[in-house]
Symmetry: C3
Subunit: 223 residues, 3 copies
């Protein structure tokens, strides 16, 4: 499905603004599904499902836009950014059972797709504003992981990102954002690169879940 | 008390900016009392009472203003927005016992009053800025529920909003904000409508507490 | 060490902008070490250590800048604000054991140093913007305590600030910010005052830890 959708954008080269918006909205959809499924698993009702869908989908981008001074954030000025996650929440509300049964650990797959897409679109948007190079990478990472962190904080869970036994998550996002920022500053950024980097971040995340890759622990840790 | 205060504003028609500011400050007072009472119940000391009062009272409005790019937020430029909740915190600090004894479940009553007032003033302010219609409704809801969510996160409680057995809270706020946004865009917004909608949201919230109304649960939920 | 570094700035009088930036960066370093040590104690891996270092060091200042409308926040435009905490995180990652062993309760000492420095630099920056006097004091306090609160929320701990048996923390920060705002508005603010107030806040915080000073509890509290 992802491939089919992305092929459409590839054919729409030259329309980069539209490309990033489309990638962003696909990420919004995936993150919204992931947030809604977390809410269903926690036994939340309608408001909880809608709220966790919206927050997971839009939280990272809203923080990105606030940091860049791009107010009101896209999520509040471009109505598609609310319609897409509300649609995702409705789908989860009605059909979370088949979604859960068809896909093994669906939350993490949708989440990984959103991770790659948002790391790219966040780094692109930050590069287009006044952020420093390192700041633009960090804003890419925040865009990618921010919604999930806010989701976990609101669900009163410790952020999954920091679990001692969590798999690579922020690191592939940071690597992807770095590639985008370097490319942008050296004038070889392109829509194809954006899609490729998003796919690579997704693949590294999924591989790290599958093979159990972890980030290193502090040296001489006591336990 | 609410009725008496509101009657004053009604007589001050034509001064809409003042009306919304007054409604907003009344909401600030009610939310500050509600936040302070939560802090007292948790055994917090002075700083905790003041901090939860301020955060509950101002959190929703500050997030609203940040989203709209209206910086510094009213809470930091209009000194009454700090004096009112500090006064409320002082009252709670000294007299939380009679407040608790006079009113049955006072936190929820004060909270419901703040909910209705902030849903209205948030939707009005968002409508006056560049937000989309759906975005303006969402900003109204965020204004209304944001302070309570930040209060719960800081008190390390799961947000009350998402409890599976919580009563209607965000839904009346969303309904009220929708009425305001529709009225604004079709030029029949008025001060009387603002007060009426705030009162209706308050009434629905109190009724839902009394009659046990709940939001629907996800379809085919497993438990 | 603090004394030696501060002596350097004193000799650099006349360069106030540079002075505040330097004080700010020293605070960033101390808070980053404090956040990193919390992450190590919690058993977090690389991402957790880096994230808690960055968030503790930059969170208060980022919230301050968002409230003042100073976007992108210094942390994202001035690259030193990322290099310094990343360096601190690397030091903690490699050498947390000797740091822990040399200094008795090092997290709290580093944290107290950051508290004093950020209360001062936050109040100065807010005074230079449009905040009301009370608002500027509050922004100073938020700059000083915000990073620690975000650190505790992300680590899923109840904010240390609100513990019933916590020692004076926000109160010395508020006192220090008040002195700065009063001085600024009456034209007797100076670099020497800034350093003196930061040192006084640090000293009061350390003394309150040592002597067990606490904030008062609500009157007629039931327990």
């Amino acid at each position: 499905m992802l491939g089919g959708l992305l092929a459409q954008f590839d054919s729409a080269t030259g329309l980069d603004a539209t490309l990033e918006r489309t990638l962003d909205l696909i990420g919004v959809f995936f993150f919204a599904v992931s947030g809604g499924l977390v809410a269903v698993r926690k036994g939340f009702e309608l408001v909880g499902v809608v709220a966790l869908s919206l927050v997971t989908a839009l939280g990272g981008g809203v923080v990105r836009d606030l940091l860049l001074g791009a107010t009101p954030p896209t999520a509040f000025s471009d109505v598609l950014y609310l319609i897409v996650p509300l649609l995702a929440a409705a789908i989860v509300f009605v059909a979370h059972r088949p979604i859960d049964e068809r896909l093994g650990r669906p939350v993490r797959v949708f989440d990984a797709a959103g991770l790659g897409l948002f790391a790219v679109t966040g780094a692109v948007k930050a590069s287009a504003f006044e952020a420093s190079a390192v700041g633009a990478v960090l804003i890419g990472v925040i865009s990618a992981v921010g919604g999930g962190i806010i989701r976990d904080v609101l669900a009163n869970d410790p952020p999954e990102l920091f679990h001692p036994d969590s798999r690579l998550y922020a690191i592939p996002a940071a690597a992807g954002a770095t590639v985008i920022v370097v490319a942008w500053r050296n004038d070889f950024y392109s829509g194809a690169l954006a899609i490729g980097v998003a796919a690579a971040v997704f693949a590294i995340r999924i591989a790290s879940l599958h093979f159990g890759w972890r980030a290193p622990k502090p040296i001489t840790g006591r336990r």
